[in-house]
């Protein structure tokens, strides 16, 4: 028994020694803790759903460089405690990887989060990481993904080669939570692949820029991050269950900079592979695109304020009932005060151009208080009167969120 105990603690001692006497190079321990309070003024669709939610988030990060900076270890953990919704009470390893930088290449092994793409209102090309849906309705929070990632840095661009073992299921709000489907979507999904959540996915991306133009071309093959939902039952109750088909997705992202104008385009084509049909839910191949521009006006009337305008159009060949951005126009404005507190305000409206009565709006403002605390206020407004629209389930879930984050 004692021997086993010793063997178990040995790696811990090694880690402790490593921390106490780091083998040279830059090191950092950082992160943040925060509390968020959400308030939903509209009557919920399901009476089990709560009208308010309090939560606590802890995100510690540790970074250690060694071998003169050629190697590094990066760890970023995440935990949220939500007072009402057990499904939102969740932890994740956002990052835990070793990286080696060699002449003309970077090799990353472990869990990491990557971002691909250029547009602001929608991220079509960004495919590697699963969406942490319970974290934010905009889908910008991602779960860590295990990967072997080799980036070749060449004169003709950067070639990213990825092997992605292990699949992460999308997170969904539970019965008491808001911002969810009716009936509730359970997390445990079914898979088209007989390997289930152990299917090994692969991805390839080439990106390059010449003068004012940046281009990225990508191909992903494996388990779809976006599930199809089908009606099922659990403990005698109707639920929606995710179905994760196999797919191949090709992506293109382009950005052209012309003075203070940034022109952006993302486009994807998704082929579902193998078994496309499950319980009357059909995986239909589709194409989607988002394109538009961002224009920045700096130092408005000598105030020091910068205002960025964003206009983006989104098209999706799937019907509006499954694709919230089938034919939508997004207009946004980002105001940076450039003050000592780093105050920022972001506003955006998305209007469906086919379904008249479906739109969403978001306002996010934040400012620094003292040296290391940030206060943020966020308003999300959802409106839909049309049951054929993907926004329809959220029509009673408009909310206000007040957040305070302390950075250490």
């Amino acid at each position: 028994m004692a021997r086993t105990g010793q063997a178990r603690t040995a790696p811990l001692w090694a880690l402790a020694a490593f921390l106490a006497a780091p083998p040279g190079g830059h090191a950092e321990v950082q992160g943040y803790v925060g509390i968020q309070s959400r308030w939903f003024p509209d009557t919920p669709l399901d009476q089990r759903q709560r009208s308010a939610s309090q939560s606590l988030v802890v995100v510690p990060e540790w970074y250690q460089q060694f071998n003169n900076g050629d190697d590094s270890i990066n760890i970023k953990l995440f935990y949220r405690h939500d007072h009402n919704d057990p499904e939102r009470r969740h932890g994740d390893v956002r990052e835990a990887y070793w990286r080696h930088v060699g002449g003309g290449y970077e090799l990353t092994v472990g869990v990491n989060t990557l971002f691909w793409g250029v547009t602001e209102s929608r991220h079509l090309v960004d495919i590697v990481n699963q969406t942490d849906q319970v974290e934010a309705p905009d889908g910008e929070e991602k779960l860590g993904q295990a990967m072997i990632h080799l980036a070749l840095l060449k004169d003709w661009g950067v070639l990213d080669l990825l092997v992605l073992p292990g699949f992460r299921e999308r997170t969904f709000a539970g019965e008491a939570g808001r911002l969810r489907s009716i009936p509730v979507t359970v997390e445990e999904g079914v898979y088209a692949s007989s390997d289930g959540d152990e299917h090994i996915d692969t991805a390839l991306r080439w990106s390059h820029y010449v003068n004012d133009v940046s281009v990225g071309l990508s191909v992903f093959r494996g388990t779809s991050r976006e599930p199809l939902l089908f009606l099922d039952s659990e403990r005698g109750e109707a639920v929606l269950r995710p179905y994760y088909p196999q797919m191949q997705q090709s992506g293109l992202d382009v950005q052209y900079v012309n003075g203070d104008w940034l022109w952006k385009l993302e486009a994807i084509y998704r082929d579902y592979l193998g078994n496309k049909l499950l319980s009357r839910t059909l995986a239909t191949d589709f194409a989607a695109t988002t394109f538009g521009f961002e224009k920045t006006t700096v130092d408005i009337a000598g105030s020091g304020w910068d205002l960025g305008w964003i206009a983006e159009y989104s098209y999706d060949s799937r019907p509006a009932s499954v694709a919230p951005f089938d034919d939508d126009l997004f207009l946004g404005a980002r105001l940076s005060l450039n003050d000592i507190a780093g105050s920022e305000l972001l506003m955006g409206v998305s209007q469906d151009l086919t379904v008249n009565d479906a739109h969403l709006a978001v306002v996010e403002g934040s400012t620094r208080v003292g040296t290391a605390t940030r206060i943020s206020l966020e308003l999300n407004y959802f409106h839909s009167n049309s049951p054929e629209d993907a926004l329809f389930p959220l029509r009673q879930d408009s909310f206000v969120e007040l957040g305070i984050d302390y950075y250490f």
């Binding site: 590094s72 971002f115 950005q255 900079v257 020091g304 780093g342």
Partner: protein, 268 residues
């Protein structure tokens, strides 16, 4: 072989130093020619530093009250036939820790700038037309922090006048950039070492906007002068920002590979 190469290097270095230290002869130049010649001499004396690393502390004062500080690390690479490259990594305020900023300065074309946002793990290209906005809430604008490139301005020598213990050239510089925030700048450059000691910035209405004072100069590698302290006073608001530069290191082995979008993403 090795000895021959070393000798060659010594010879080259000595020649460069001799050229840089030669007393500039302005003969019977016109005021504009002399102004340009002085600016060229400032740049010529700062050639050959290859690469550098330094730590920067910024202190933001509202009148005399210290409101905030910012700390960042700066890596720079000298580019012989074009503007320099630089990578800035933010350490404080802590809510922006890990944010990094990559700039390729170009002598004649527009600069290129990228910002890395660690929370989103996203590199965003930003418009290089942003010259006039305040940098991190300070009295320095982006334009004030760019590397100095001779062809970006037109010059006129105004006069020589005593400054501190020495004598200065006073020259007028006008930016050719249509996006500049200034109508003109008056620059005091000491005659002994060609170091800028003071800059007065005039706004588009020709009134005095800011004064920058550069002091606590230290000489590195026996040749390169760097100010330890820069104070920017805004005369219209009464606010000021102090920049303290520390831990300068040269020839640290940085190459073009350390100034790419990939290196920006992994900068810590």
């Amino acid at each position: 072989m090795i000895a021959a190469r070393q000798l060659f290097m010594v010879l080259i270095t000595t020649l460069l130093a001799a050229q840089a230290n030669a007393e500039a002869d302005f003969g019977d130049m016109s005021a504009d020619q002399k102004g340009l010649a002085i600016a060229e001499q400032v740049k010529a004396r700062d050639r050959g530093w290859n690469d550098s690393r330094a730590a920067m502390e910024m202190q933001l004062y509202r009148r005399d009250k210290l409101l905030a500080t910012r700390e960042m690390r700066i890596q720079a690479l000298e580019v012989v036939d074009d503007g320099d490259k630089s990578l800035t990594i933010f350490d404080t305020p802590r809510d922006v820790q890990g944010t990094a900023f990559l700039t390729f300065t170009h002598v004649l074309e527009d600069d290129e700038q990228w910002l890395y946002l660690p929370a989103l793990k996203r590199v965003k290209q930003i418009s290089s037309k942003n010259k006039t906005s305040p940098f991190m809430g300070s009295e320095f604008s982006y334009e004030d922090l760019n590397s100095f490139e001779v062809p970006r301005y037109s010059y006129t020598w105004l006069r020589d006048e005593p400054c501190g213990d020495t004598t200065c050239f006073v020259i007028l510089a006008r930016s050719k950039d249509p996006y500049t925030g200034y109508s003109k700048e008056t620059i005091w450059i000491d005659k002994d070492e060609y170091r800028p000691l003071k800059v007065k910035y005039y706004d588009k209405r020709q009134s005095l906007l800011k004064t920058l004072t550069l002091s606590d100069y230290l000489k590195y590698l026996d040749r390169f002068w760097r100010p330890g302290k820069q104070v920017m006073v805004n005369h219209q608001s009464g606010n000021r920002t102090v920049i303290l530069m520390k831990d300068y290191q040269f020839n640290t082995g940085l190459t073009g590979e350390d100034f790419t979008r990939n290196s920006l993403m992994r900068a810590r």
